[in-house]
């Protein structure tokens, strides 16, 4: 017998307590994911109204805004990578990072330098381990982001983008493009890492052809179209980032739930297997003891017969 019964018992016990932990994490993730989805739904009206307003301004005015103008020769891009703070979520962070790496490669092939902005400790650790510098990292809110975090990130990205648009040879090089890589929550079962370009903004002018009678009204702008656009667009950007963070949070929880479920299932299987082996070992021990006793008795009987 390679492993003693006692050792097997200990293994079963540790697997059981591990199963308890993974099971608890699964349940926690499952309950949080509902909340995360709710928050994503609650944020939808704001995003919808904002998009409506932006397309209204874009349709009725020909205003050039720094945030919407394509730079002629983009040389520098910022990539915001949204990952989780904690692991134990299956391939969640690594698939986002893989997607991000693909994008970085692509941008570099186009001759652009890439500045990395990351959220989540996993991405921070990933780049630190590889000795690559990260322009800025935000951590500590990946599974329940708050709006202020989105705002801070948004303002920072807008700032570097505007620097890139304004100053040709600025001291701190701004960027000409901003991309976001995050995980899109499609269903509970599927989440997809996605890369989108955030800036310069491509204002969607009626991607869905407006239905009859749903034509955008002729707005008046107060104080002026430029001023409205000036405060509207940054908010739009922030709302897009907020949306990405919420989606990422929901995806993270969904993947954690899935990963923890399979860990629990696996623990179940291990326990079953160990129990079988332990039973076998116990049975083997008993059999051996019996055969030893029987052997001893036989030997005694033989000795007695010889004496007689």
């Amino acid at each position: 017998m390679a492993v003693s019964v006692r050792e097997l018992r200990a293994r079963i016990k540790s697997t059981e307590s591990m199963k308890k932990i993974t099971r608890a994490m699964e349940l926690i993730a499952a309950s949080r994911i509902i909340k995360a989805q709710q928050r994503a739904n609650e944020a939808a009206p704001y995003a919808r109204e904002l998009t409506r307003a932006v397309s209204a301004v874009a349709t009725y005015s020909n205003v050039d805004h720094p945030l919407t103008t394509e730079p002629e020769a983009p040389t520098r891009a910022a990539v915001l990578v949204v990952t989780s703070d904690r692991g134990l979520a299956g391939s969640y962070s690594s698939s986002v990072l893989k997607e991000a790496e693909g994008l970085v490669e692509k941008l570099k092939a186009e001759g652009k330098e890439v500045d990395l902005y990351v959220t989540g400790r996993k991405a921070e650790a990933f780049y630190k381990f590889r000795g690559r510098s990260v322009a800025q990292a935000w951590t500590g809110f990946s599974d329940r982001p708050d709006f202020d975090a989105a705002k801070e990130i948004g303002e920072k990205l807008i700032e570097v983008f505007v620097e890139g648009a304004e100053a040709e040879a600025a001291v701190a090089p701004g960027v000409d493009e901003v991309h976001v890589v995050y995980t899109r929550f499609i269903t509970m079962m599927t989440q997809k890492p996605t890369a989108v370009r955030l800036l310069p903004l491509e204002v969607v002018e009626g991607t869905e052809a407006p239905a009859e009678g749903d034509v955008l009204p002729l707005y008046e702008f107060e104080p002026s179209a430029e001023a409205v656009l000036d405060s509207l667009l940054p908010q739009y950007v922030v709302s897009r980032i907020w949306f990405a963070l919420l989606q990422a949070a929901a995806s993270e929880l969904a993947q954690r739930q899935k990963a923890m479920k399979s860990a629990t299932d696996n623990a179940d299987e291990l326990i079953k297997k160990f129990t079988r082996v332990a039973n076998q070992a116990r049975q083997a021990g008993i059999t051996q003891e019996i055969s030893e006793i029987v052997g001893g008795v036989n030997a005694l009987a033989d000795a007695q017969a010889a004496n007689d």
Partner: protein
């Protein structure tokens, strides 16, 4: 329902209030505007101030917004702001402390003016609601 304004007061993370109303008063960067039925379509930037909504029934809804937008079209009014607080959600003592602090920072900090406006709006909202 048909002869009322459809109002939506939306914060970044939730719909704060929505329903039919007879009048909406908000403060844009140019000054106060009142919106009644049949108002021309307008899109304007708001400042940190109190928003008053007179619903079709029930008591007046008073809230503060931190900047944002007012858009009016076809008797639909949407007020969008990153943070919206209804009067009863405001912590008056906190707002007063904030106001003091912001006043002290005035002149040294660029955000001070904004913070003063925000705190004042909150205090005013509570006063109006009581």
């Amino acid at each position: 329902m048909t002869d009322a304004l459809q109002v939506e007061l939306v914060a970044a993370d939730r719909v704060v209030w929505s329903g039919g109303a007879t009048m909406v008063i908000a403060r844009t960067v140019d000054g106060d505007v009142g919106v009644l039925r049949g108002h021309a379509p307008v899109l304007s930037a708001l400042t940190e101030a109190v928003v008053e909504i007179t619903p079709e029934e029930g008591t007046e809804v008073i809230a503060t917004v931190d900047g944002g937008f007012l858009s009016v079209a076809n008797d639909r009014v949407s007020i969008l702001s990153e943070h919206v607080l209804l009067a009863h959600e405001i912590d008056l003592s906190k707002a007063e402390v904030e106001l003091e602090e912001a006043r002290r920072l005035l002149g040294t900090n660029n955000d001070a003016e904004k913070r003063i406006r925000r705190a004042e709006a909150r205090i005013r909202a509570v006063e109006k609601a009581s």
